[in-house]
Symmetry: C2
Subunit: 421 residues, 2 copies
Amino acid sequence: MVTKFYNARILALDGITPLTEGELIVSGGRIVALGKGAAFSGTIDREIDCHGNLIMPGFKNAHTHSGMTFLRSLADDLPLQRWLTEQVFPKEAQLTPDDVYVLTKLAIMEYLTSGITMMFDMYFARESIAQAAIDTGFRAALVGCANDYGGTAQETADEYAKFSSYHPLISYRLGFHAEYTTSEPLLRDLSQMVQQLKQPFYTHLNETAAEVESCVAHSGMRTIEYLDSLGLFNYGGGGYHCVHVSPREMDIMQSRGMTAVTCPGSNTKLASGVAPVYEYLKRGIPVAIGTDGPASNNCLDFFREMFLATGLQKLAHGAEAVDAMDVLDMACKNGAYACGFDDCDCLAVGKQADLILIDLNQPNMQPLNNIEKNIVYSGSKQNVSLVMIAGKILYDRGEFFIGDDPQRIYAEANRIIRGMK
Amino acid sequence: MVTKFYNARILALDGITPLTEGELIVSGGRIVALGKGAAFSGTIDREIDCHGNLIMPGFKNAHTHSGMTFLRSLADDLPLQRWLTEQVFPKEAQLTPDDVYVLTKLAIMEYLTSGITMMFDMYFARESIAQAAIDTGFRAALVGCANDYGGTAQETADEYAKFSSYHPLISYRLGFHAEYTTSEPLLRDLSQMVQQLKQPFYTHLNETAAEVESCVAHSGMRTIEYLDSLGLFNYGGGGYHCVHVSPREMDIMQSRGMTAVTCPGSNTKLASGVAPVYEYLKRGIPVAIGTDGPASNNCLDFFREMFLATGLQKLAHGAEAVDAMDVLDMACKNGAYACGFDDCDCLAVGKQADLILIDLNQPNMQPLNNIEKNIVYSGSKQNVSLVMIAGKILYDRGEFFIGDDPQRIYAEANRIIRGMK
C-alpha cells in the first residue's frame, strides 16, 4: 500500500527541516519521500488531501500501565500509597490475561485519539499486551516489572530474548517495578542480568518523597544512588517519574546517559510533586513524557501532558522556562529513543510512517501565528484527525481501524470491573 | 421550537437530583420537563436520541478577553509585565471595533468546542462584543475596564444602563481594569458610581506578587484592602485571578460576599502563581473558573482549566484536595451567579436551556465507574458533541450553527494580525 498525503504542512522535527509545505509519500510502512514536489516512481494506491493541515510525528507515551483502564475514576482523591494498597492491588489480583488484552486495547484507542503512536508499557500479562498492540497495529515497548511479589531475573532475561524478536511493532526493555517493592537479593540478580545482557534498565524512580526516604532509611543512600551502586544503570536506561531527585542523583543520570520520563499529569493528580524537568534540560539529561496509567492520571491525553510538562516548570522557574519546541522534542523523539525505536522519532526518508494529521481548521489553532506553539499551548485531542502507524491508518476522524469493535471493548471493560469484588 | 432529548443520562447539578436517566424537553429556550417519563403537552418539533450520553449544564467561563484571539502564540514564554507592555498593548492599539467583532466570534467558536455556554468578557469595543454574542447566540456578561488610559465612571454607568436591558443574552457588570493601571481619583469616581448603583464590582485582582507589592508601596495596603477601603466592594462583586491574597484580604472577600475567579491555565503559563482555591473553598468563598484571554493562556478549553483547578491544589494540599464535584460546581454554577445569570446555573424546570451533550462513547470515558470524575479528570473537548444555549443548538458534532462561516472567521483573524505593525 502506497499512500500519498498532499496539500500538507509538514513538521518533520528532524532537527534540520523547518516547518514546510508539500507532500509525504509512504510505502512499505516507511516514509519514502517528503517535501515540495516529493516524487515516487511506483503506483500510488491512496491519495489523501490534507487541506493545508499539519503532518507531524506521532507522540510517544514513554510510561504507562495500559491495562489499568478498568480502574479509571474508581478511587480518586487518595494519596499514592493508600490508593495502591487499598484499591489497586486487590483489584489487579483479580485480572486475567484476557482482561489485560481487552483493557490494553481500550487504552490504545484512547492513545490514538490524542495522537500517541507508541507506548512504553509496564504491566503484567505481557503476552496479552504485545498481542493487543499487534492486533490493533500499535507500536509498543514492554518492560519487565519484577518485584518481591512476582518475577525473577531469569524470567526477565527470558522475556527479553522472547520479545526482542517477536514482531516489528514490539520492543522489550529490561526493568523491574520499583525499589520500594523489591528487596536486595532480587536487585542483585537483576544487576547480574544487566551485566550479562549489557542493556539499559528502566524502573519507577523517585516518584514520591516517602519512597526516597525509605530507601535512605534502609540503605543509607537515595534511590538512584542505591540502584546505581548495585550496577543496575551500568548500561544506561532511565526512570519513570523522577520527581524527587538530588543534584548528586542527577550527576549519576548524566554520567550513565539515563532518560528521565516525566509524568506530570499523574504526579499532579496524586500530589507526588513536580519533576525538575527544567534542571534535566539544563544538564542535557533527555526527558521523555508519559501519561502513567489511567487509574492514576486518569487521562491518556498527550496534549494535557505537554501543557503540564512546560506549565509546571514555568510556575517554578518563570514564564521563559521550557519552550514549545523543547516540549515537542520530549513528546515525539525522546520516548522513542528510550524504547529502542530509533526509526520513528521524526519524519524523514527511511523512517517509519508513524505520523499524525493535526486539524488546523479549528478555532483553537487560529490564527496561524506559530503552529508549533499552538500545538503545545492550545492544542487538544480534537485536533487529531488521523493517526498512522507503520504506514497503516488506525484512526481517521473519530473512527477506529483496529480490527475490533469499540462498543465491544467498552462493554468488556465495564463487565470486567463490575464483576470484581 | 420544542426539542426533546431522549435516551439521556442527566447530570442536573441542582444540588438535589443525583445523576439520572430519562428525557429533557426544551420549549421557548427553557427547560420545561426533565427526568424519567418527562412529558410535554404541546407538539415536539425535534427529537434527539442521546444514545445514553450525558446532558449537563454548560460550563461558564468567568473571565476572558475574547477579542485577544489575534495574539495567540504570538509572544509566548514571556513574564506578564513584559508580555503586556512589549506585545499586547502596542498591537491592541491597532484594533478596530470590527476586528473585535470577528475576533470575539473566533473565541466563541472555541468556547463552544469545549462546552462553554457563557463568557464574562472584559475587553474594549463592548458593543462589538455584545453584537458578536447576539449574532452567534452566545450568552455574555460584559464588564467595564476603565483605567487611566481610557474610560470614566460616567461612561461605565452609561454602559450599565445601556447593556442591562440590551438583549436577553447580554448582562453587564460594573468594573475597571486593574489597580495597577488606575489612579486614585478615577477609583474614587468609580466608588461613587458603585454607591449610587448599589451593584457588585469586578476587576483583575492580585494576579501577580509584583502588582500587590506596588499597591502596598503607594497605599500602605494590599490591593483588596486598598480597593475595599475606597468602598468598591460595598455591594460585593469579585476579582479575576486572586492568586496572591492574604488571610486579611480573604476576610474582606468573605464579609463582602465576593467571588474569586481562578484562571489556573493563564496563571500557570505566565508563571503568576497558584491561587489559594483550597482556602477559598474552606472559607466558603465562591470560586468560579475563567480561561483568561487566548493571548495568555493560550487555550480556551474548560477541560484543561477544570483539571488544573483541582490538580494544582492537590500538588499543594494533597491528593484529597478539591474533588471533582467541587470543580463541577465552580465550572457550571458560580460563574453564572457572578455574571448575574441566575437561571442558567443548573438543569431544572424553568431554567434556561444552556446545556451540553457529553459523548460517553469515547475511550477516555470508559468504563463508566464514575461519570462526574471522568468529566473532570479525563474529559476532553472531544467529548463535547452538542452545545445548546437558550434552546438553540450552536454546535453539533463539530459543526457550528452561529450564523457565520468558520472559514471566513479564520481568514479574517489571520488578515487582522498579518496587517499589524
